[in-house]
Subunit: 465 residues, 2 copies
């Protein structure tokens, strides 16, 4: 796999000189630094930026963007580099803005259940900061991603079935636009009908409309009671049917995650656990003590109907943390199945009534193929990932994975689903976006052109200009 | 109050002729029909369109928009005419597209908890349609508005504290764009990271970016248990503090509404009820039987701390319906306080930690003034309405209301709140939008220009072009 070569011209020396004059040692053109900033955790080919600047404030970002704008130079925001569709690859060269030093929690309001953070604050850092407040921030993609990056990719994760995604949990953003203007997208009111929804426009825009520098987030009280369990099922279908029954009954479950047998085998090996090697659901229940009791009783009844009777409960907070760590490490566990392997995490989401069928047909494709793949999913949302574990020396494996992925995405779209539930488009899914949105991509292009007429903001991502 | 006179030119006869050729008797230029379609329920001056077309399908809307686009003629969508900021006034003349005959429920999926309706279906019509499914759609602005209009204004209402607003409850829209292209904004997956959030772009766009013709909505299972009550409090502050404690404790209350003493007096008179004439909270609790018991116990404890002990429960579904009808009729009840009066419903929303202060300062302004006003609010969201009841023959009353409203909006914005929680901008709040959003209005203008370069879609609303 190689990145498309789109670089327009060598970046102007004036940009580097201007950056060094303004930022001194916070500008790097070292090969290793550029290398690290041009790649994410995906199988997509990386592409180095020409320079990396370590920003410390919105004003820093304004100065970088203005300088780049004056020289038509691309600007690529970088948080933790944990994206999965090549989002940070500098396809046309340019300047990478590393936001990781913008890591201050600016404000927490326990009374309003919200906070404002700089874009480089990670989700774990925020929750550590909140530890003594009785509050938490629920959105958890597997990686300890930055909250700016999570907003930029409309991230979600295991808690989304109850708490929603970044779409529902961002109240406002501070964004540096392509011409250096600073936009605050909204105020802190829980709801507003004041004009176009600028906040949601930038959530999921992947750095192509501006650089997110601050994020105002909703927070939640830590529930009175939390219970977590795993339960194996006789088949993937039985597990999925349990999920569908749970969602359709309106049980306010906090997490309901599927791992298939192969994934459980990987998790056991990776984390030295001894779960049954079978399709397994991971559950978490949040509520009052009595409320959680009720939820558990309902879900156990649904599971029993499907032959899922062997619930193992995490009795302590430590055990619960260990249980979820195993889930969050699923990707790395899958990679460990084949030392030296490269992972390819796919990501479709369908209406829940079609989920069992979509997973079954996808598994049939995998079973009839020679590639290694595990399946894991936020199935309460209808979202799942087939993770290919590929030998980087064997292009035929990538070709086969690509064939299966094409079929899976086409299947999901035909079921009125989406080509990406939470990973985003980056440069890896632009053709799938066209398949899914049709006329909508032309509208997206109009929006991009309106806000970034020179196409300097993370060019080559989401839509081709 | 008179509408700004912005009409560019007399509309071309070719448009009328073209419409009549295509739509026959479904085009009206009768004065009474035009009159009715140029006004909403607000105090803002109406302005008649030049013609009204009664659309029956998305294809009809496409033909209307294409004809209008060819002649640079404004297009104004019309649902039920229950907006509150002059949204339907044809400020530059043009063609009103009446969508009320697009009233088919196209699809209900009980399994996916969603449905698709034509834009003219009203919320009550949908809930009647759903009666036998065990499902309901929760968003309820006071009026029986059309779901297309509710999406267009980002409406909410009494249930938003638990179920969110139209922003959270629309999965996808079908929109006819300014050049006649038909856009489907998204598919039915519960979440997606596939490009820019086109759905949210059109929610709250008030017809200025396109005409919404179909809406895909989330539905909810009717809760096992529903309980509703009213409780008077010794002061507005005591009532608001009860609300704040409830929200901060994370009680998943379905409705928590404030009516001040003057509003309760109006409600009693209008609906022949005998509630205490005191600041009063209206509550509704949704959940399992045990869950509702728990919520009720928590809220009663918070209320008791504030001197609210006299809970009156609605024992039956009929009583509950009567209780909420009284709440929904608040606006009409307020108008009935002064026969022949005109209402002016204001609408601010602030972070809940500032709510008590914002209401207290606003009430002080009213108490020191000569105008009549009642206060009612979706206080769980930090949203409240001061409703002025004005003598249309006395311009000094409107001037005074305007002065108090200016102060209230400035206060809400200074508290990091918004100039409109749910009514929208229309042509009544464009200056407040500038005060609230600053640079954001320029961004909104860029978006508008990108999608409607000739400014034919509901011109003169949200942003000046």
């Amino acid at each position: 796999m190689t990145a498309p070569l789109l670089r327009r011209t060598q970046m102007s020396d004036a940009v580097i000189l201007g950056l060094k004059e303004r930022f001194g040692a916070r500008v790097s053109t070292a090969a290793a630094v550029r290398e690290q900033h041009g790649k994410d955790e995906s199988y997509h080919a990386p592409q180095r930026p020409d320079a990396v600047v370590f920003a410390r404030s919105t004003d820093d970002v304004v100065d970088i963007v203005k300088l780049c704008a004056a020289h038509q130079t691309p600007v690529i925001p970088f948080g933790t580099g944990t994206s999965l569709e090549g989002h940070v690859a500098a396809l046309e060269g340019g300047v990478c803005v590393d936001l990781s030093a913008m890591n201050r929690v600016l404000r927490v309001s326990a009374a309003d259940l919200d906070c404002t953070v700089e874009a480089g604050v990670t989700r774990k850092q925020l929750n550590t900061h909140l530890r003594d407040t009785g509050l938490f921030f629920p959105i958890d993609p597997g990686a300890d991603a930055s909250l700016g990056g999570m907003a930029a990719t409309r991230a979600s994760g295991t808690n989304a079935v109850r708490y929603g995604t970044m779409r529902e949990n961002v109240l406002a953003l501070t964004v540096v636009l392509a011409d250096g203007r600073v936009l605050r997208t909204a105020r802190r009111a829980r709801k507003s009908a004041a004009g176009y929804d600028l906040t949601r426009l930038f959530i999921g825009s992947e750095g192509t409309l501006g650089v997110i520098t601050e994020v105002t987030l909703r927070l939640y009280g830590i529930p009175e009671a939390i219970m977590a369990a795993v339960c194996p099922f006789p088949s993937v279908e039985a597990a999925v049917d349990t999920v569908v029954a749970t969602i359709q009954a309106g049980v306010p479950i906090a997490r309901i995650e599927l791992l298939d047998a192969k994934q459980m085998e990987a998790v056991n090996k990776y984390a030295k656990l001894d779960h049954a090697v079978a399709p397994t659901l991971f559950f978490e229940f949040h509520g009052t003590t009595r409320g959680v009791e009720e939820q558990v009783a309902q879900v156990k009844a649904f599971a029993a109907e499907q032959g899922g009777n062997d619930f193992h409960w995490a009795a302590t907070a430590e055990e619960r943390s260990k249980l979820w760590q195993a889930r969050h490490d699923a990707y790395y566990a899958a990679l460990a199945l084949r030392p030296g392997a490269k992972g390819w995490a796919t990501d479709v989401c369908v209406p829940i009534s079609r989920l069992a069928e979509c997973i079954a047909e996808t598994r049939r494709d995998v079973d009839q193929s020679f590639v290694t793949a595990v399946l894991v999913g936020h199935v309460g949302d209808g979202n799942f990932h087939l993770i290919f574990v590929l030998d980087p020396a064997k292009p035929e494996e990538f070709a086969e994975a690509s064939r299966i992925n094409d079929r899976m995405v086409a299947r999901a779209i035909a079921m009125d689903g989406t080509c990406t539930g939470e990973h985003g488009i980056g440069y890896g899914k632009m053709d799938f976006l066209i398949a899914e949105h049709g006329e909508g991509v032309a509208v997206m292009r109009s929006l991009k052109h309106a806000l970034d007429p020179d196409n300097i903001m993370n060019p080559g991502k989401i839509v081709r200009m």
